[in-house]
């Protein structure tokens, strides 16, 4: 039997949603509106005058080689970050789930990286891989590998992906672990009696049963890769070398704040907004169909 809280009147419900509505309005709808408005103008660098250009900013963007390259970079980057942060997390969670003793300690240790702020994580990884003083770079050098993410585009991408994913593994681990613990033990035992070995059980029983969590994490991690990795990229590569790690969000910043091209920057924000909206809708439409709630 479903138990519902029923509200009398409309004052209380309104009061309860008010903070969300107000915050969304102030920090999302207002800036989004501003961005859309600004994307139609080209202001002069000092912000003294604005020239109306219609969709000119957008036309320019989609004719721009660097902007289109940034799209590809973003797609690659977010796919890699999502995979790198989810697959190891799932693996660790499966292992933790199998543990009976010490699962608590193991879990706590795995959660620690999440407490590290992205920018700090960026600095951490930067130190380790710094071409001159980094420990890892030094060891790689001793092994005969010349690490230089400042010049090598693949290495730069690899480093920002790892640095961005590292902390997320903890976050994803927590969710996966909780989901695994919620799979009824007797269902697993029934599958074992039915003859399924560990990995067979994992793929045919466990994975389908935790798919709501997987789907949720997929959405959350893609959004993370799109927006919240700014700090990491900024500290480690600043989008370089040759814009190899300039994802869309970073380009908004680079063109707007550094390049002072506010019109283009605003147009990019609008594009980003649309892309993320589409992605989320797509994910819900197509991935959700395969999810068994």
């Amino acid at each position: 039997m479903e138990k519902r809280v029923t509200f009398k009147g409309w004052m209380l419900p309104l009061l309860l949603v008010a903070p969300q509505v107000v915050i969304s309005a102030v920090f999302f709808f207002y800036p989004a509106g501003q961005a859309i408005w600004q994307s139609l103008f080209i202001p002069d660098p000092f912000g003294l005058s604005m020239e109306y250009v219609g969709l000119g900013n957008f036309e320019y963007l989609f004719g721009n080689r660097y902007y289109l390259a940034s799209f590809v970079t973003t797609a690659l980057f977010s796919t890699l970050v999502t995979l790198t942060s989810m697959i190891p997390a799932l693996f660790l969670a499966v292992m933790a789930d199998r543990l009976i003793k010490g699962a608590g300690t193991y879990r706590t240790l795995l959660i620690w990286p999440y407490a590290v702020a992205p920018a700090v994580a960026g600095v951490l990884w930067l130190f380790m891989f710094n071409t001159r003083v980094g420990v890892v770079a030094w060891y790689l050098g001793r092994l005969g590998y010349d690490w230089n993410h400042v010049l090598n585009e693949t290495e730069a991408m690899g480093l920002v992906v790892v640095a961005s994913s590292w902390g997320r593994i903890s976050y994803n681990f927590l969710f996966f672990f909780a989901a695994l613990q919620a799979v009824p033990k007797s269902v697993i035992e029934a599958a074992a009696i039915d003859g399924a070995h560990f990995w067979r059980r994992f793929f045919t029983i466990v994975l389908p049963l935790i798919s709501p969590t997987t789907f949720f994490l997929l959405v959350v991690n893609v959004v993370y890769a799109f927006f919240e990795t700014f700090g990491v990229i900024h500290t480690i590569t600043s989008g370089g070398p040759q814009q190899a790690t300039t994802i869309l969000v970073y380009k908004v910043y680079a063109d707007g704040f550094v390049g002072q091209d506010l019109g283009s920057s605003a147009a990019q924000s609008v594009v980003l907004l649309v892309v993320v909206g589409l992605l989320t809708v797509l994910q819900f439409r197509f991935v959700e169909r395969r999810v068994h709630y």
Partner: protein, 352 residues
């Protein structure tokens, strides 16, 4: 189809031993019910046979070969769980065919076997539904079906009916028993319900605190319980146990003489076991029941109260309708001496 042998099975969780050595031999096709109160180790014993718990000591043999070290899947058993443990993301058909699919059975054969089992269990109309869209009884049948299609050597049931309502439980009880007789697979069935045990078992294992108190046919256990525990656990309402004595070859309860004691028993205190249904009204009897509460059930009447001669409460079950004049009525009762069970006050073991 197979025999199952338990040889002095023990189970320890860490340092605590919860099963203290259970032994029995189960014949091919036999239906064995393991019955006992909550926490006595029934599930643990069953799970050891299934291979879901390791065996700390002793040996389990299925069809003559030791299975202690074998994985559940290598034991050729099927288990029905209390909560059914159906795969929620699969249809009924997929649920029932999962084991066969893993065994690599050809698709057409799987479909045929599932259809056959579904027909047997009246599930044919539900094959494409998910477990979520089934009633409790139907889920129960799917769980049974999943066990049947694999044609295992042994069926294991862990309280499969405890999530059903009373009426459905009676119906499913019959269905399971009938099904088992039809396909003749050796079965171990765990329950805490002594009525289920009495009605379904070929033989039952009465368990208490990790020990098998008695192993035998239901009526044998009822007629000659080996221990005080078995005496009180089997039979409903349960047996009255009173502190009595044997004096000069006679059973006595307080001042009342109950008849000659079986030969060979020394004088001294004993526990007297009197089944409620063996108490008969008899105006000449010295046993007098002071009625506190009467429960008219129609076919018979339960009278709860106390005998003049004993401290412990006493229940009598009289056939037919028995109208009392309310609380405080005194009814003289007689129990035939042959129907009295005698137990040692120290060990609880049967004496006669």
């Amino acid at each position: 189809m197979a025999t199952v042998e338990l040889r002095n099975i023990k189970k320890r969780f860490g340092k605590t031993e919860v099963i203290h050595g259970v032994s029995t031999e189960i014949d091919d096709g036999e239906f064995i019910v393991i019955v006992g109160p909550s926490g006595c180790g029934k599930s643990t014993l069953l799970r050891m046979v299934a291979g879901l718990e390791s065996v700390s000591d002793g040996e389990i043999r299925i069809d003559g070969s030791r299975v202690n070290e074998r994985e559940p899947m290598e034991r050729d058993i099927a288990m029905v769980f209390q909560n059914y443990a159906l795969y929620p993301h699969m249809t009924v058909r997929q649920n029932m065919g999962y084991g066969l699919k893993i065994a690599g059975t050809p698709k057409r054969q799987i479909a045929a076997k599932v259809d056959e089992a579904a027909a047997l269990l009246q599930l044919s109309d539900y094959l494409d539904r998910r477990p979520k869209a089934l009633s409790g009884g139907q889920r129960q049948r799917v769980a049974m079906g999943r066990a049947i299609v694999r044609e295992p050597k042994v069926f294991l049931f862990d309280e499969p009916l405890s999530n059903l309502d009373a009426k459905l439980r009676v119906q499913m009880r019959l269905e399971i028993k009938e099904l088992q007789e039809r396909i003749g697979v050796t079965s171990l069935y765990v329950t805490h319900d002594q009525v289920e045990a009495m009605t379904m078992a070929d033989r039952m294992i009465v368990m208490n605190a990790g020990r098998a108190e008695q192993i035998g046919k239901p009526l044998d256990v009822y007629e000659r319980p080996a221990t005080l525990f078995a005496a009180q656990f089997i039979g409903s309402p349960s047996m009255n146990v009173l502190d009595g004595r044997i004096e000069a070859g006679e059973m006595r309860l307080g001042s009342a003489a109950l008849g000659p004691a079986p030969a060979g028993l020394p004088d001294g205190p004993v526990k007297l076991g009197l089944r409620p249904e063996h108490a008969l009204p008899d105006p000449d009897s010295p046993l007098r029941l002071r009625v506190r509460l009467s429960e008219p059930l129609g076919a018979n009447t339960l009278l709860h109260g106390q005998l003049d001669q004993a401290e412990a409460p006493f229940t009598a079950c009289l056939a037919g309708v028995h109208r009392t004049n309310g609380s405080g009525e005194i009814i003289p009762l007689r129990v035939a001496p042959e129907a009295i069970h005698l137990f040692s006050p120290e060990t609880g073991d049967r004496l006669n």
